[in-house]
Every structure is written in C-alpha cells, then in structure tokens.
Symmetry: C2
Subunit: 495 residues, 2 copies
Amino acid sequence: MTGPAIGRAACVGGGVIGGGWVARFLLAGIDVDVFDPHPDAQRIVGEVVSNAERAYAMLTYAPLPPRGRLVFHDSLAEAVATADWIQESVPERLDLKRSVLAEIDAAAQPGAIIGSSTSGLLPTDLQAEMAHPERLFVAHPYNPVYLLPLVELVGGQQTDKAVLGRAQTALQAIGMKGVVIHREIEAFVGDRLLEALWREALWLVKDDVCDVETLDDVIRYSFGLRWAQMGLFQTYRIAGGEAGMRHFLQQFGPCLAWPWTRLTDVPEMDAALVDKIAAQSDAQAGGLSIRELERLRDENLVGILQSLKAGDGGKGWGAGRLLAEFEQTLQASASPSPDAGGRLRLLSATVSPAWIDYNGHMTEHRYLQLFGEATDAFLRLIGVDADYVAGGSSYYTVESHLRHLGQARAGQRLDVETFLLGHDAKRLHLAHAITDEAGATLATAEHMLLHVTAERAAPAPPAVAAALNGVAQRAAHLPRPDYVGRAVAMPQAKP
Amino acid sequence: MTGPAIGRAACVGGGVIGGGWVARFLLAGIDVDVFDPHPDAQRIVGEVVSNAERAYAMLTYAPLPPRGRLVFHDSLAEAVATADWIQESVPERLDLKRSVLAEIDAAAQPGAIIGSSTSGLLPTDLQAEMAHPERLFVAHPYNPVYLLPLVELVGGQQTDKAVLGRAQTALQAIGMKGVVIHREIEAFVGDRLLEALWREALWLVKDDVCDVETLDDVIRYSFGLRWAQMGLFQTYRIAGGEAGMRHFLQQFGPCLAWPWTRLTDVPEMDAALVDKIAAQSDAQAGGLSIRELERLRDENLVGILQSLKAGDGGKGWGAGRLLAEFEQTLQASASPSPDAGGRLRLLSATVSPAWIDYNGHMTEHRYLQLFGEATDAFLRLIGVDADYVAGGSSYYTVESHLRHLGQARAGQRLDVETFLLGHDAKRLHLAHAITDEAGATLATAEHMLLHVTAERAAPAPPAVAAALNGVAQRAAHLPRPDYVGRAVAMPQAKP
C-alpha cells in the first residue's frame, strides 16, 4: 500500500464483523478477497452486504462508485496475495489469531498493512510471531460495521507509527473514523467502557432492580440520546454550567467514593441468570425476529446519521459531519454526465422507511428533497459544486411545480431523470421525473432557478454558460416533457 | 391531584434540573409556582425556560398550549399550597432534602403528590420524616430535562404504589417517559450505569490511554449512536445473531471474568487529575462556550428525536414515538379555527438549524414540509384527523406550485396563512403563504388535493363538505391571493 487509499482489500474471517468490513470496502468501490473456511461464510457475508446495500441506499444520495468485486478463495495465501489492506476477523483466541496473522504476514505483499478486528487482545501479543510485525495494528470496529464509523487503532511495541497514520487516512476515504489509542491496554477504550457498564447492568437484572426492557429504556430515553452526538466529557462539561469541567469534577468527584456500584464482584453467568435474561429479552423483542430488529436498528441509525449530517447549521456534527465529508469524497471522484443519448439520469435512491407518512406512502416533501438532490447533481455537472458555492455564487430555486402521479413505498428504488428546458444569462429552467423500477412516472417537477452572486441575481460566468450549452446541444433531439407549463387549477364548471 | 393530569405544579429548587422541570410544565400549559431562595434562581430558571422554548419551537409543529404562568414565591409553603405535583430539586444532601420534604408535606394540599429529583438517595430515607410518606417518590430526570424524556420513578417502603401509576400517567401527558424501577437502590438504574462507565473513563484518562476528546469520539462514533435507539440488551440480542440473547450470553459471558476493568479502585480526584481533565476538556471544546455547546446539543437532540419520530415506517420509534404521542395529545386538545375575520392562521414554526442548506438558508424541501404541516392542520380543522385517516380515507396532494421570494435563516420565526381557494366533491384547492416576523412573504404554495377512500378517488362525506362550506363562507369576503394559477416559464424572448 503505497498511497493512503486502499486499492484492494482482503478479509480473513467473514462473520458478522468480517462481513461488515467486506461491505464497507465493496460499497466504497474496493475489490475484496475473502478467506473463511466456515461452510456458511458466503451466506453470512452475503446477508451483511445486502443489509449494508439497503442501508447505504437510504443513507446517501452521493454517487456511490461501482461496487467492488467480491471473491471467495479456498486458500488464505491466495486471498491476501494482492491486497493493500488485510483485515483479520477470526475468533477471539490469541493462539488462533497469532497463527493466522503469521500466515497472512508470510503471504502478503511487502507494502500491505494488516489490521486485526480483535476487541481485546494486545497488538504486542498478536505481532509476536510475525516476520514483519511493524505493519500489524489493531483496527477494532463496531457492529454494524457498515454504519458505525468508529475504528479504534492501536499499535503494539513493534508497530510502525506511520502505519497507524496510513490506516487513519485510508479509513477516512471509506467513511470511517479511525481513532488512535495512545497506549495499548486489553479491551482498548470502547470495550473497557462497555464492559464496566455491562457488568453493572447484569447485576441490576440479576438482583431484580429492573428487567432488561426497563434498563434499555433507561438508556435510550436519556443518556443514549446524548451520546449519539456528544460523549461523556463534553456532556459533563455542559452539566458543569458556566464554570465548566473543573466545577463539575469538584462537585461530583466525591460521589465516586460512594458505594454505588458492585464493582468488585463478577456476576456468575449461571443457567439461572442466562434463563432470566434470555426470557426477558424475548419478552422485550415482542415477537420481532433478529432480522427485523436489525432492519429497524439500521433504519434508525440512518435517520440519526442524516439528522447529524444537517447539524451545526448544515456543516454536520460528529458522525454526521463524517458522512458529509464522505459524500464530498464520493462526489469529487464521480463525474456524472449525460448518457450516450444525451439523457440526464444523474440520481437514484431507495425510499427510506423514515420517509413514509401516516398514509403509508413517501411523504410529499421528500419528493422535493429528491428533486433538490437531482438539481444539485445537475449543478455539479455544469461546474456549480461545493467550491463554486464557497466562492460566493450559486443557483437559487425561485419557483417549482410538482405533480404526484403515483405512490412510492418504503424500500422502493427510484430513478430521477432531469431535463434542461431552457437557460439564459441568469435563469435555469429544469424538469425532473421520478420513475419506479417498472418505469412508471410517480412524480414530476419543474423548477426555475436564478444565478446569484453575493445574494443578488447575476449572470453565470462563461464556463457555466458553456457547460449549459453543451448539455442542451446533446439533448436537443429529445422530446420536451409534455407536462411543462402547467398551473394548479380547479376544472372549469360545466356550463 | 384527583385525575392523572397535572393542573398546577410547584418546583422547590430552581437550578438547572429544577428549571428543566419548570420548562417541561410551562410548555405543556401548566402553571408553575417556584420557591428557591438562591439569589440567581430567577435568572437561571429564565435561561433554562428560554432554551426550552427555542428547542420546542424546532422540535414540533404541534399546537403548543398557551404557556403556563410562572410565579416565584418568597415562601415554600405559599409556593406548594395549591399544586397537584410538587417537584423537589434541592442540593443532594439527605438532611437538607428531608427537612425540605417535611416542609413541603406540611404545606401541600391532601391530594398532591411529591416527586424528588434526587439522583441517588433512597426514597425510604427521604420519606422518613414525612407525615404523609405514601405520596413521596423519586422522579429522577436527565439533563436537559426539557428534551430528554426519561424519569426514573422509584418508591420507598412507605410509598403508595398507586402514586407511581399516577405519576407515570401525568408524565406521559407532558411528553415524558416515567419508568418504574422495581427495587430501590442507591443511584437507581441510570446513574449506576453512568457511574460504572464514568469511573472507567477517569482511569483511562488518568493512565494516558487516551485523552477526553478521544474517549468522547469513541462513544459518539460507535455505541452512542446505537443507544439513542436501542439499549444494551436489545443491541446484544442482535449481536447474538439468529440464536439471539442466549447465544450471546454464552459466547461473551466468560469474558466478564477477564481482568479488563480497574473496578476495585477509585481514582483519586486530586488536583493533578482535575487539572489534566479540565485542560483536555478546554482543548476539546475548541473555544465554544457552554452556551454554544448547549445550543448545539439541543439542536442535535431535536434532530435525533425528529428522525426517530419518523422511524418504524412513520409510526415512530423509542423517544420518537413518545414525541409523536405527545403531539397527538396536543393536537387533540387544541382546536385550531379561523380567526374572527375568517383568516386561517393555523401554524407557526421556528427554523431549525438542521434545516439550513449549504447556501446558509432554509433548504427548499423544508418549505414544502412546512406547507404540508399547514395542510395537515387545515385538514384537522375540517375533520380529517388521525382517526379519519385510520378509517381508510384521506386527502392526497396531486399537484403543487411553490414560489420562493425571500430567505429564511436559522432561529427565525415563520407564520403560515392558509387560503381555501376552491373545493368540490373530491377536490380541494389550497394556498399557503409563509411570512417572517416583519410580515414579509418568503414563500407561497398552491396545492390541489384529491379525496381518496381505500386508495381511490372518492367524494368526501357530508360532514367534511359542510366543514369546507363553513370555512369558505367565513372567508368569502377575503381577497384571493394574486399568485394563484401561475405556471413556471422562461420570460418570452423579445422579438
């Protein structure tokens, strides 16, 4: 791996975590070689990839690159031979991981770097038997790997620090957040925190203070909402009020010595406790299968990520800003253009369940959102992109006309075709049509846009005008949509 | 308090938590009496209420009731005398809370119930000196109280169980989620979990495994996103795969015995640790003041709650379903109607920062969302409400025309006026205008809607027709908006 970007990836171990890595790579356009001797590996990876594709279709309108090619191999050596990034996700046993990593190390090309998905083992221990230990690091992700951006990056005593930097850059290019943990300790940071909370939770359930549903509700109606956007310390900084963190620590520090947690004991996971928790968990699930819960979770995560993407006045906040940056990367590397026949099919999308209204259909303003995204894709095509807007000019929509001809339902794939109806120095007249998979038109839009500079109407520069002329010329032979120029009106009463 | 609803509330102690309770009550239309001898109490409560009003304006379009009346009193007895629900939020000292609660108990009317905001003290200890201990319970909320719905309800040995039920019902009516904790233990459930995690976090920072920003990033890019929608157990149920919870416990149970956490030690909160964390926290805040962080937090929470409200195919999920239910309560108790002059001003809203696009203005499709909300308010006015839709009939929008005349910015208040332009057996022709606080029109919309039954166009029933006639009659003298009937078109080229 010579540059920061991953050209080809290999995944050794294809369970839920390995499959999540496979999905991240594939959807970022990277070819992936997989080795996993488990008989169900192809099915499991396939299911994770299909969940990921469903989620991405709802998550973003950015032009995803063509999906990478997925190849399963019968030998580990063959699978890792040409990869730049090799990710190991085999079961959590030191002896197994060590031997697998040694095998990977022996077969990998010299420039490749090797991440381990271990959630707790020390990289120093993992790299002990490797010929090139400097390229091994922990890259610990969180499930679902295709939606949660975090990767804890941890180096061992023999890890080259530059490798961690390369990993961080490579992860950013596929929409993930590599966070470097300074010192290696077992379980790193995230699982340390989870472990402490999990242990306490088990005691609360074992001691009948509450059941699992109540405990989950306590989390998701309170601090869970907080932590989707700010962590523990930032939240407490605010809680400290104007005096901030110092005040908070002085006020609440002493409470730590109170005997509030059963920290020293480990609850025994005996049959009685397993039965109790499993039964309560069944009751909580209310008959929803794991597959259904997974879909609900993914839809919720998509909605949360999208809401955070709009945060901080449109700049994006936390995981949402990361998503916005990823989309910019995708847009910069894609160059949408008219097809061979001059037609502008610049956008496809899948209807998110979060877009459904009380009538069970895609809600009205989401059509306009989709039309707006198609307009943005058209504007990028003629050179009006993020840099252009940052330069102080843009096109503003001044008038729109929408028709609703059919209904879109959750999960349905929609395509948008765009028509350049007219343009002059300042004006841009566009139409869009949304069609379903069968080609039926569900909605149309007609827009008039005005070119502005410093918030005032102003002629577009020559480069934009030339681009518009080019698009118009290539489409000159296409028929004009027949719905153009309509007004909203009641039918005339019959005389 | 005879029924489940709170007629009048009293808050004893008006800090950030007490102020949060005050805001919840006031914005639900409940009058609040406050006693707090602190010289800054009025300012602090005022700031919290103003934050809450800003957040609610972004959070929901539901018709909020007229804000309750806020009265500060010089004596505790006077403040609590006429309340149905009295909430104690004084500092966390048992002796202080006991004496304040005894004072409240002596002055409260017989039917009143008394909640304590304590985050850790046992209700049995709190009620020990009360003449009517059966009406005392812990009602432990989370900051910001006006946005986070959770209230842990915990009874002591002398608490009447029926009081907890009444509290739960009353909280639901103000948009909160009362969760009953079965057994009283110090710190209840939420703070037990937080305490365990907080202690571990302090060690990680003290030992230089990571800094506070890294630790926060680990949370908010991974499990924080999960926990905004599902808790610990439901998440792990999914992680267990098709085999579910039992499998997960058997697989990961043994890990608990690993020496991953520094559970037995309490990190000493000495000057060095306070300095370290405070300095790292300053660096993390990057110059943002507490007030700015608070606003960003609230905006993010609003966005997350709104995204969860659209979850599960529009039914709402978790805290989002709670919000949807709260809105239904508000809509059921409000009866929007034409004003004395027959004008339809049914909706006002504040522009959420999450609605701003890359140009710095309210994004296009959010105008249509606002117009759609105004249409819904109009439909409720003519009897087409949630029950009506559940009965299988509704109005669908078939055509819209929008004009953008000005720009809306974050935090701006917008009003929508609606015009009934025409109607027949199946059709409904509406217009809306969005104006800013100065009365300038920022956008207009014109819609044609079609009445449907079982997804097919069908005449509206007589009651709806009569309601439409009534609205039309009262508005007959008003001028017709001059923008009606426009089509989108390029200006004609001069010959």
